[in-house]
């Protein structure tokens, strides 16, 4: 009993069409809605630093801005780039093309940020990177659609790096995460070390998200450098320090310099292991009343955790973006919005007053912290004591040194 051939071809076509139809992305939305996409690492080594915490911060920012009072509709969506540039770039492209996302925020992981920056520029949207570190984002890879918000490798090198060299750490061995961020951090810190009379004795490059540092640590030990500079972040830094303790690195006279350490890493290591570590952040939850209030609200969705400077940067960048969109009465031209954001001085409860430079660099003060000893900590999260404040004017790389094409002259 064989039905006619044509019916089967038709059925096949129908099946295929249904299949493709169900795969179709959601239909385009109105442009009345300002859509914010939080693109971050939801489950990998940076998920504690950014991740769901950044999403929570973005939502708090929208709440505080109160869109209804300004006659605006704002939506926040989130996505996981898994620390892979292709996943991040594809998601960004799809968000811009199909889901009508207007601005992407966060993106810890510099390699993803560079790719997202390219896509953002192509589609003329806005990218507010409060997560990535590479100073190239405001240097050779700067773009009229990108603003780097919270920190960068130059700032870290000139804050942590300089202070370590000045206190006697003049021979260095680098343990570097082998991608855009780690390489930038090593490069910027090397410049500082050499400029201050120090020497770099060698380096060991490890893949992103490494779990066993034993052979790299052994190389560091063999080099006999006084300082082992950790040009990595998140889970990699935590693992390196923990295993360093296991291999007796610090008890044999060498010291770790965590070039990018967040409060989440300190919490993961525990004060007992991390005490004495010198680090730089541009925001600390316990520094002002406003910060404490924000933290309390933020902790409702992240109980037991503390926000690092990254979610704080997400909050600050989202608020300023919404102010700029309100002033322009439109969100469709990314370059125009970014230009407006650079024109308007920034002011929010977390970072206070600041500004954004022509190369896309947000300017604010940086703080050198030292991790407290366990007996000095009075309550959970009481991890840092302030060692020095670097004023905003000195914290970031001078405009002329960046090689950013947007900077004329």
């Amino acid at each position: 009993m064989r039905p006619a051939g044509k019916t089967h071809a038709a059925k096949f076509a129908l099946a295929l069409a249904v299949l493709i139809g169900t795969a179709a992305a959601p239909r385009a939305q109105d442009d009345d809605v300002v859509k914010i996409g939080v693109l971050t690492d939801m489950s990998g080594l940076y998920s504690d630093i950014g991740g769901p915490g950044s999403v929570a911060a973005a939502k708090l920012a929208v709440e505080d801005f109160n869109p209804a009072a300004h006659g605006m509709k704002v939506e926040v969506i989130a996505g996981d780039h898994q620390n892979k540039p292709d996943v991040g770039a594809n998601l960004a492209r799809q968000w811009y093309d199909v889901d009508h996302v207007d601005v992407i925020v966060d993106v810890p992981t510099s390699s993803v940020a560079l790719a997202v920056g390219d896509v953002t520029r192509e589609k003329n949207k806005v990218f507010l990177g409060s997560g990535p570190a590479s100073s190239d984002l405001t240097g050779p890879k700067c773009s009229p659609n990108t603003i780097q918000w919270t920190y960068d490798t130059w700032m870290l090198a000139n804050s942590t790096g300089k202070s370590v060299v000045e206190t006697g750490g003049d021979t260095w061995f680098f343990l570097t995460a082998d991608y855009a961020f780690g390489q930038a951090l090593q490069r910027d810190t090397t410049k500082v070390v050499l400029a201050n009379g120090g020497k770099v004795l060698g380096d060991a490059r490890h893949p992103l998200q490494t779990s066993d540092f034993s052979s790299f640590l052994l190389q560091a030990q063999t080099s006999k450098a006084k300082i082992i500079g950790l040009a990595n972040a998140g889970g990699d830094t935590v693992n390196a320090i923990k295993q360093g303790a296991e291999f007796g690195i610090t008890s044999r006279g060498q010291q770790f310099a965590g070039l990018l350490v967040f409060i989440n890493d300190v919490e993961a290591l525990s004060l007992k292991v991390a005490k004495g570590l010198v680090l730089t952040e541009t925001w600390y939850w316990d520094m002002t009343e406003a910060n404490r209030a924000f933290t309390k609200r933020w902790q409702q969705s992240r109980p037991g955790k503390f926000p690092s400077m990254v979610p704080a940067g997400v909050y600050s960048s989202v608020i300023h973006y919404l102010k700029a969109v309100e002033a322009l009465k439109s969100d469709s031209d990314g370059r125009a919005v970014v230009a407006k954001m650079k024109e308007m001085p920034t002011d929010d409860p977390l970072f206070g007053k600041g500004s954004i430079r022509v190369d896309g660099r947000k300017i604010h003060a940086a703080y050198l912290f030292e991790v407290k000893k366990p007996e000095e900590s009075k309550y959970p999260g009481d991890d840092y004591k302030l060692r020095a404040t670097i004023p905003a004017a000195e914290a970031f790389r001078p405009l002329k040194d960046g090689a950013c094409p947007l900077v004329s002259g």
Partner: protein, 317 residues
């Protein structure tokens, strides 16, 4: 402190020792694979996931596990609450319990899935176990993210010894000792005992052995469970060194496959010796030519296969 080929001896011996530690894991895991392949003629691609489950089992036994439990409050549907089941069992308990628990899941897998594949091309076994590995890894990743959970070495094994050329943590020394002991015991059991001879006979000629009255299907199932238990044991041992994370097995398992192929697919001795040897070779490469340390095992595999297609100790040509 002297130098060999321009490399300080401290670095050389240190990396060799670290290589021996890595080799311990390669040996244990390839032993499990060799046992399974020898008996079932299946490449157990789930091995990496089972290694990971062993590490997680140790983590759960110590820290407890949160399970969603329904609360029946008289209304329907029941509400779910997360209940913490804690056992606080230390590493030493985990060394025994985790392989047993994970081994039992192995028995289930063999009964439910693998026994249907006995008549098919062994490649289907590979595909099925590959799929199972993905399912298990995906489930754990959903629950625990992809960065690791911390697991402390037991107090008795913390600290270390200064060997002069390097500082060797006690726990890592223990890994070498235990893995060597387990490999030796397994080899002895299979090659030198009566039970082992029954197993080997059943591999060669299952029909005849069955005719002698031995329960061959049971032997097959138990062998698979044992191979899986070996993987889980390696996982428990790995937990304090590498973080307990859902993808700890995936990239490791490819290297272990290369080890098994070099050693010879059905050979127990080949798997053990090659595992330790390749760990040491990898360590050596890290000293002299670090960029190649990831690829050296594969290069060796390619060379061995060209010269001795059955592997160094393999029986089937």
């Amino acid at each position: 402190m002297f130098e060999i080929f321009g490399i300080p001896s401290q670095a050389l011996f240190g990396q060799l020792l670290l290589g021996l530690i890595n080799g311990s894991f390669y040996a244990l895991l390839s032993l499990g694979l060799a046992v399974i392949f020898g008996m079932l003629n299946i490449i157990n691609f789930t091995h990496g996931a089972q290694y990971m489950m062993g590490a997680f089992a140790a983590y759960f036994l110590l820290n407890g596990i949160d399970i969603l439990v329904p609360h029946f409050t008289g209304t329907w549907p029941p509400t779910f609450a997360s209940v913490h089941f804690g056992l606080g069992l230390s590493y030493w308990w985990a060394l025994i319990l985790a392989p047993i628990l994970v081994g039992i899941t192995g028995l289930v897998i063999e009964q439910v899935f693998l026994q249907h594949l006995r008549k098919l091309d062994p490649l289907y076994g590979l595909l099925l176990t590959f799929g199972l590995g993905l399912v298990i890894e995906g489930l754990f990743r959903n629950a625990y993210g992809s960065s690791g959970q911390p697991y402390q070495a037991p107090a008795a094994l913390q600290g270390g010894r200064n060997l002069g050329f390097m500082f060797l943590p006690n726990y890592r020394a223990w890994v070498i000792v235990l893995s060597f002991a387990v490999c030796l015991a397994t080899w002895f059991a299979i090659e030198r005992t009566r039970l082992g001879s029954h197993l080997r006979a059943a591999t060669e000629n299952p029909v005849l052995v069955r005719a002698f009255g031995f329960n061959v299907p049971l032997m097959v199932t138990l062998t698979y469970g044992f191979g899986v238990a070996l993987a889980a044991l390696a996982g428990v041992m790995a937990a304090p060194i590498y973080n307990v994370s859902p993808q700890m097995g995936t990239d490791l398992i490819i290297v272990v496959f290369a080890v098994v192929v070099i050693g010879g697919m059905g050979s127990i001795l080949g798997a053990i010796l090659t595992g330790f040897a390749l760990g040491v070779i990898e360590g050596l490469t890290k000293v002299f030519y670090p960029e190649a340390s990831n690829t050296v095992i594969f290069v060796i595999m390619a060379i061995v296969l060209l010269i001795r297609p059955a592997g160094l100790f393999g029986r089937r040509a």
